[in-house]
Symmetry: C2
Subunit: 228 residues, 2 copies
DNA sequence: CGGATGCATACTGTATACACTTTGCGGTGC
DNA sequence: GCACCGCAAAGTGTATACAGTATGCATCCG
């Protein structure tokens, strides 16, 4: 299994710990590690051509975010996601982002709204094969805009922090891009509620959106068992 | 300023990093550091009679929780809490715990409810000087019970993690114990809603409770300026 | 043949040494 | 006198050496 990793990047004032962290997150979120797999500090250090110190730093950070588990004197292991934990993760996301949507309805700037409308148009598929990229970008930007525009930096921070776990969980269970098409009308409803500056509707739309995303994911759950 | 710290405790399978972390949290939450104060790794290591490694670990963890800030190549500093950040912190807490209360209404066990009722009785003051301890214990246990009984381990974890920041913020601004007396009837309303298994009322009661706790704190805000 | 015991091994936990970055101060040249 | 340059000190970032702990295996005893 070739899992060699290249970087030693050109970034000047970013610590190796940060780089290693980002690399491992990317690897985890793109499904390169199996649930329960052991992450050996020495091996990782060799792969990244750094010492154990930055690797340890990254692993502790990942553990704090819930992507890996480390018990004292044991190798840290990639978290195993049970169906019930998928539900729990989406529930927490629902709680955080629904609240953010409610607040964003009164705080979001009109320029930001205009940006989103542009992306929404771009995401509308010309052909049916055309889904994918445009919709994914719209999805990401919408959620990001809601978090950034909620008017509460601490809530924004929690949402973005939690997003790593969400991406991790999703990468374990969602394979088909069907949820993208599925989510388009929901996204538009959220956007419309924001345009109308309607907190209640924005909250409800976001809540429904995440609930339905969970449903889509749950239908694919049998996949959970067989992972690389 | 004698800030010597004793431990080197008897705990067998707890790492020094954990111990240092707990000690610093305790120090931060009990107001032993001023906002903006610099936390020097070497000095802390000396105070705890350990090397810099566990200290660094603890500091990174605290940074992840938002109690301190560290920029690359700069000393980590204790976070400075502005009035607006007090509001933001309580808002996030409100979002998380109100949701937990709603869920706990359907999940909490009757034995747990009985425990809480016992504490509630014990917290009712015989004399007026008697507030304080009983009420604080009731408060803590109620919030803990709600988090633990919400039926979502991930939500519970986020609440407990966030609680460190809440305690930190509160320690900066709340001086008088007046909020304890103030909160008693609100606590009872939460408990009653839980007993009635009424999610909506439980959520509303918790939400109102935290909002009013914020109000009490805001009235003491002038204190924010002058800290040790 | 089964089980317990001791040892080797492979890790993580901690300490320490070294490198790099930032910053403030002092000297020097204009 | 002022500005700029350079250097030294202090502090963090990283690497590495050392210590401690859990675990599997082999061996020995019953």
């Amino acid at each position: 299994m070739s899992r060699t990793i290249e970087f030693k990047s050109l970034a000047p004032h970013v610590s190796l710990g940060d780089l290693v962290y980002q690399q491992i997150v990317e690897a985890l979120v793109s499904g390169q590690y199996a649930g329960g797999e052991e992450l050996n500090e020495v091996i990782l250090a060799a792969q990244f051509h750094v010492s154990r110190t930055p690797v340890r730093e990254a692993l502790r950070r990942l553990a704090a975010e819930g992507l890996v588990v480390n018990q004292r004197n044991r190798q840290t292991t990639v978290v195993e996601i049970s169906p019930s934990e998928v539900v729990q993760t989406y529930q927490v996301r629902q709680i955080l982002e629904a609240a953010a949507a409610r607040m964003a309805a009164t705080h979001i700037s009109s320029t930001r709204l205009a940006e989103l409308k542009g992306l929404a148009k771009a995401a509308t598929p010309r052909s049916d094969a055309d889904w994918g990229n445009g919709e994914r970008k719209f999805d990401e930007e919408l959620h990001r805009a809601v978090a950034e525009s909620c008017g509460n930096a601490k809530l924004q921070r929690e949402i973005q922090r939690y997003n790593n776990l969400v991406r991790f969980v999703r990468s374990r269970v969602a394979r088909s891009p069907q949820h993208l098409a599925h989510g388009h009308t929901e996204h538009l409803q959220i956007l419309t509620a924001l345009e109308h500056r309607d907190p209640t509707k924005a909250e409800a739309a976001m809540s429904a959106h995440i609930a339905s995303a969970l449903q889509v994911v749950l239908e694919e759950l049998p996949l959970l068992a067989r992972r690389p």
